[in-house]
Amino acid sequence: MNQPTDNTTSISLVLAGSGGSGVITAGNMLLAAAAKAGWYGLMTRSAGPQIRGGEAAALLRLSSEPVSAQPDRYDLIIALDWLNFERFADEIPLDKDTVIIGDASAAKKTPAFVTEGPARRGDIDFKSMSKAIPGGRPNMIALGTIGALIGLPEDALDAALSDALAKRGEDAIAASRAGAEAGRAIAAEMPATPKLPTPEGEKAGRWLISGNEAAGLGAIRGGVRFVAAYPITPATEILEWMSPALTKVGGVLVQAEDELASINMAIGGSYGGVPALTATSGPGLALMTEAIGLAVASEVPVVIVDVMRGGPSTGIPTKSEQSDLNMALYALPGDAPHIVVAPNSIRDCVFTTQWSVHLAEAMQTPAIVLSDQALGQAKSVIAAPADIAFFAQRETATTPAEGEEYQRYAVTASGVSPMAVPGTPGCAYTADGLEHNPRGTPSGGAKDHHIQLDKRQRKTDDFDYGQHWADQAGEGDTVVLTWGSCTGPVLEALDNLAGTEQSARMVSMRLLMPAPKEQLANALEGAKRVIVVEQTHSGQFMGYLRANIDLPKNVEHHCTPGPLPIRPGDIETLIKEGTPS
């Protein structure tokens, strides 16, 4: 009964289990195998609150095209057991074509949302099967079954198994192979799922990377060589990737005692002439805001990556939301011009973070990068990012000529003043969070304050951000205006509607602050409909847009908080049917 269905380009599946069943490991192997087979893919994970042994699910979407969003529905769910599986109900849309495979005889029965749903079912007793294989594990059996169901070439899965288990030795590899083989064999008895065609031709030039790794790499590409940070979910992987990576390229990462320390250390390192970064999430960013203001006033470049999670407060640390936008824009004391940028895909985490280093260094001001959990903790097979020339280029000072005086905060046309690297003779100055005159001497005078406010504002207002302020795609007089991780589902919706009467275009803002008012006005020209899409509860992005540009009166607004992802179908429906009133 295992027949290939119609010619599909993407397949989505969930592998779930509890108590150390190894579903995440198996998910990673599956993604790696898919990559070897020439597919693209995206893997996210969901888990219970337990540190170890909790219920976990690997959510994968594999495709012959690059994957930019979580799917509208799942083709296949394999549960090694059903313990606490209800937790994932909201995250796993099912329909009548979904195939659900689990152990019908297990002590904990299949949850109602599965049994009462429309899906087709198959029954595999993973436990008994694995016991029959020396060293066998249920997750490897499931892997074999999935591979067979979706058309994953055996050699690709085999190679991924060998890579992943190389350190465990031949016996472990052999046991896993045997498990996968058993899984493959039983797949024939299961209801059929679509099969992905194995792509022909060139498969080179692809990377397997997470958004957090991509952000770390972008930072290093941009010239960051000093990082100080405090661990926080979901940003920690940036730090764990960067720590050894920095050491290799002559940089250093310091684990700080808290976020107050990490941002101040980063500012200290940058003051010393070494491009610097810290990474955190919302609660950490809240602690950093005073020092980010210091970096604005003292004109020290620094990059802060905020991998956003559900808020307020501790919120939902392992789930995504775009609700730190207001904080990134507005939390600094005083009038504090700074940069806020947002990557719009896992691949773009490389570019945007690299660009942020360039912006911070060129303008000598802090740049906040708003990534989020959906990008950061997702792993994806992507086309290798382009090699971009953006690199930290700080305008530095040289020893002044005899009789001339170095002025750290000299008033210039661009607002950017040469910044002396400590050690440069004749340029010693004190960087200060107090308002100051061009020499850097503290001053509370109106004239100095106005001149320095203007100078700092000029730096970010007059900078040429080029085409990078936004990504634009599609055609039509309906414009979907969005940012960050909402971009993926919007793009997919636009793709699906391309060439139809509902064809639309997208403007995804990479540059959030300073608000690219003119560029945005131009991009929206001629739009008959404007739909704003964001993942917040209060409409922070809409508020920001309204504060900065004239939006049409009847602008539509798709605004949902986390933790559920925005799916392409949501956007497609919106474009087709309008915002429900």
């Binding site: 397997l208 002559g250 200290g268 002439g273 097979v381």
Partner: protein, 279 residues
């Protein structure tokens, strides 16, 4: 004596002073501490451009602008991480951190412990006057519990903090106490502190003539430490726990290696890093 053959330093103490005039009250101990700092720099033959003076907020934290070295006047309580970032990124710089009892022990208390622990090669000078001066005289962590003031009338009722004991427990590599009234003695302490590897903590009793005129008697209260510095932590602990707070001199000298991860030595290219992601 060997003095005849001693070479004069390249720079006089005055060469380390900027032309910015301090805002401190006349009579403040911090003027003298500034003198001790510049004397120490001069004796160490440091070029002003290779020295950075880092601070937070408070009277004593105004020091960076009064020197002709590189400086950073940061936010309240965060001078130590600011300085640690600079030193780790630029190990070639001599970094001195100036703070007060409010900035260093209250709002910056957590960083104080971790700076001791981390042992970056910094010299941390805390001018302790047991009062908040910039905000007009409130109790600080080192203030006597019965000191009457507007914010805590009748006194805070809270036991004062013992910074030297905490520095020792947290792992500081050098612990000393000086008195602003002894500018030359304090200069010597600072020179030793700067020369000693790792985190050096120097508490300097520096009277506030405006809000604590009673502290003028400190000149009679201070006395040289009766014994030489120890490197034995148990003895140091006993000494610091039992002293009267006016014992001056180097009180502890440890031998822990300073925290300085290598920087600037690349063994791979960015392309090598990227290679790990390529399929």
């Amino acid at each position: 004596m060997t003095a005849e053959t001693a070479l004069a330093p390249k720079h006089s103490p005055r060469d380390y002073k900027s032309d910015i005039k301090p805002v401190w009250c006349p009579g403040c101990g911090d003027y003298s501490v500034l003198g001790s700092i510049t004397k120490a720099f001069s004796e160490l033959n440091l070029d002003p451009e290779n020295v950075a003076v880092i601070s937070g907020i408070g009277c004593s934290s105004r020091i960076p602008a009064y020197t002709d070295c590189y400086g950073f006047h940061g936010v309240h309580g965060r001078s130590l991480p600011l300085a640690a970032g600079l030193k780790v990124a630029r190990p070639d710089m001599t970094v001195l951190v100036a703070s007060g009892d409010g900035d260093g022990f209250s709002i910056g208390g957590n960083h104080f412990m971790h700076a001791c622990r981390r042992n970056v090669d910094l010299t941390y000078v805390v001018m302790d006057n047991r009062v908040y001066g910039m905000t007009k005289g409130q109790a600080s962590p080192t203030t006597e519990p019965d000191w009457d003031n507007a914010l805590t009338p009748g006194g805070s009722g809270i036991s004062p903090f013992r910074p030297l004991v905490i520095a020792l427990a947290a792992g500081a590599n050098f612990i000393a106490r000086g008195f602003s009234g002894d500018q030359n003695g304090t200069a010597k302490l600072l020179k030793e502190a700067i020369e000693h590897p790792g985190f050096s903590f120097v508490q300097i009793l520096s009277p506030c003539v405006t809000f604590r005129p009673d502290q003028k008697t400190w000149k009679d209260d201070v006395h040289d430490a009766a014994v030489d510095p120890t490197d034995e932590i148990g003895r140091a602990a006993r000494r610091l726990m039992t002293d009267d707070g006016f014992n001056t001199g180097v009180l502890y000298k440890g031998e822990r290696e300073a925290f300085q991860p290598p920087i600037g030595e690349a063994t791979a290219t960015v392309a090598d890093l990227e290679g790990k992601f390529a399929l």
